[in-house]
Symmetry: C2
Subunit: 329 residues, 2 copies
């Protein structure tokens, strides 16, 4: 019973700006936290050293490194198979970074890496609303749209560790230009930045009044659209209708793949609540294939927003998830 | 070592018209076959009785039922979890048919049921080009477009046993009406019937000459388009270009989900060979997300066309595939 002698895991939410660490128990309680500035360490060895220095005092509060089972890291372009971060545009380190190796050498405990959305899925499976579910799809609605998928109780990693890029489903052929170089990807419409783009498009097309006209169009954020919608602004409400409808149709297409028990949504855009979820549910029901109707639940994340990323990363440190199988390569 | 005392499985390819049985050894050799007319037995009990009568003499040729490990059945709307066929439009039996139960009672051996495309995937995994692959997607291009998906070396069945309906991905918003009641599904474009629809559309739009104008438009089949393309007909070649291009783009979207090692294509339409596969490969490379470029192979089925369905069904009878995990329900 390793959980008795080593009752904690560490989670690291590695973002472009901040790196947040949490020591977590088996029930998903964060018992201690610390943080460093990611960008302050252009040399990855310095980053590891600073991490260990920040971690040492909080590790001591739970009885030392002997009580820690593992370190789980959720990072942009994190690769579970290789223990690396590979070509992450939003991080200071270029190319392929051997993250697991460096942290294992520094801490002497197992280190597991994966990308942010997969970590979120592992977190929901371990501590959140997906406990007990074998088949579900996690959708993160932030600056982009990310996804983490469980099939048969296992994280879907694919042949290369990069599976689960549902934010790049083509939803509008020849539609909006995406950062990936393709056109019409889901995340150009249904992310926080997508909502702002929709606002600018609709405001430019119409002459009807809107609270959103009180600010320069280029400065509009999804939060501005949310505030305007709450205040009763018709165009702002229409923007959320459009976004939820498109996301519901995309989820109906995702159901074709794995017929999940649930879709779980998290990230900034979900703060819009029913403004987003009502049209999303309506559209999903309208578009999903008959044999799948009424089967998948559309849920919001069960984890506290500020803790989700650290919890998700930490969950990688327990034994069971994500149990990948090596590829035949 | 069950394979020594029980060295054979039976595969049943249950079609709307014919039901073909084969006794298969562990290497995928079909050692004996028989068939009955599916439609001749509107009562399922009579169908089972006729099946056993047809099977008995060929079972005797391999040493009797004691040598048979199991019966695997590939059927429209076959459900692995329930051992049933559920509301299959092309079969004579209505509602939910307890297929496994009835055949187990009649034969005294385990019976496993799944849908045709899943059976094809199990067949490729067991005997075909997908041997050793943990992540691949089987696409069947027949009257419709079916799919069977492997993730982490396991068949993707979903929460209800009906996962893998990729033929219903929306590829053209508000596009062609599909038999499923939705619009713009992949199979309205990239199936054999989709190719014929494309032919009728293009011939109606243009005035350019084509061999396809020598027959009534309503009678054109995908095989006619194939013959015309082989004879150098420009419009017929354009139809395959259009079909392959659309299928390649759809596969690029499927890769987002499970980052497979390979896509494997089978079914009538694949007889077009390079006419279909060249534009398909070109389009896939153009549309797939950068991180997936060059990773998935696009392959034709490695099984003999006439044997694929029976082999696929029989493969369900061996121990390992498809190892599903029960849902949390």
């Amino acid at each position: 019973m390793d959980e008795i002698t080593k009752p904690y895991v560490i989670g690291l939410d590695m973002g472009g700006t901040n790196s947040v660490f949490g020591i977590v128990d088996a029930r998903g309680n964060i018992v201690a936290t610390t943080a460093i500035k990611t960008q302050a360490y252009p040399d990855f060895d310095d980053y590891v050293k600073a991490s260990v220095e920040a971690l040492t005092p909080i590790i001591d509060t739970v009885g030392g490194i002997g009580k820690i089972k593992a370190l789980g890291i959720g990072a942009p372009n994190g690769n579970y198979y290789n223990g690396t971060i590979e070509y992450a545009a939003n991080l200071v380190w270029e190319g392929i970074v051997p993250v697991s190796k460096k942290f294992e050498e520094a801490l002497g405990i197992p280190v597991i890496v994966t990308n942010d959305a997969d970590a979120a899925a592992v977190g929901e499976y371990t501590y959140g609303v997906a406990r007990g579910m074998k088949n579900f799809i996690m959708i993160t609605l932030g600056t982009g749209v990310g996804s983490g998928i469980y099939v048969n109780g296992q994280l879907v990693l694919g042949c290369d560790g990069f599976a689960g890029e549902l934010g790049h489903l083509t939803v509008v052929p020849d539609g909006r230009v995406c950062g990936c170089g393709r056109k019409g990807c889901l995340e150009t419409y249904c992310s926080a930045t997508g909502v702002a783009r929709t606002a600018r498009e609709i405001l430019a097309e119409r002459n009807t009044p809107s609270l959103l006209r009180d600010m320069p169009a280029k400065d509009i954020t999804s939060y501005d659209v949310y505030k305007a919608a709450i205040a009763g602004d018709a165009i702002a409400k229409e923007i959320f209708d459009f976004t939820g409808t498109m996301l519901g149709e995309a989820c109906a297409n995702f159901a074709l793949f794995s017929s999940p028990e649930a879709f779980i949504f998290m990230g900034g855009l979900t703060k819009a609540g029913d403004l987003l979820m009502n049209p999303l549910r309506k559209s999903y029901d309208e578009h999903v294939l008959n044999i799948f109707k009424g089967k998948a639940k559309l849920l919001l994340s069960g984890l506290k927003d500020s803790e989700t990323a650290v919890l998700g990363a930490s969950a990688l440190g327990w034994d069971n998830p994500p149990q990948p199988v090596d590829t035949a390569e």
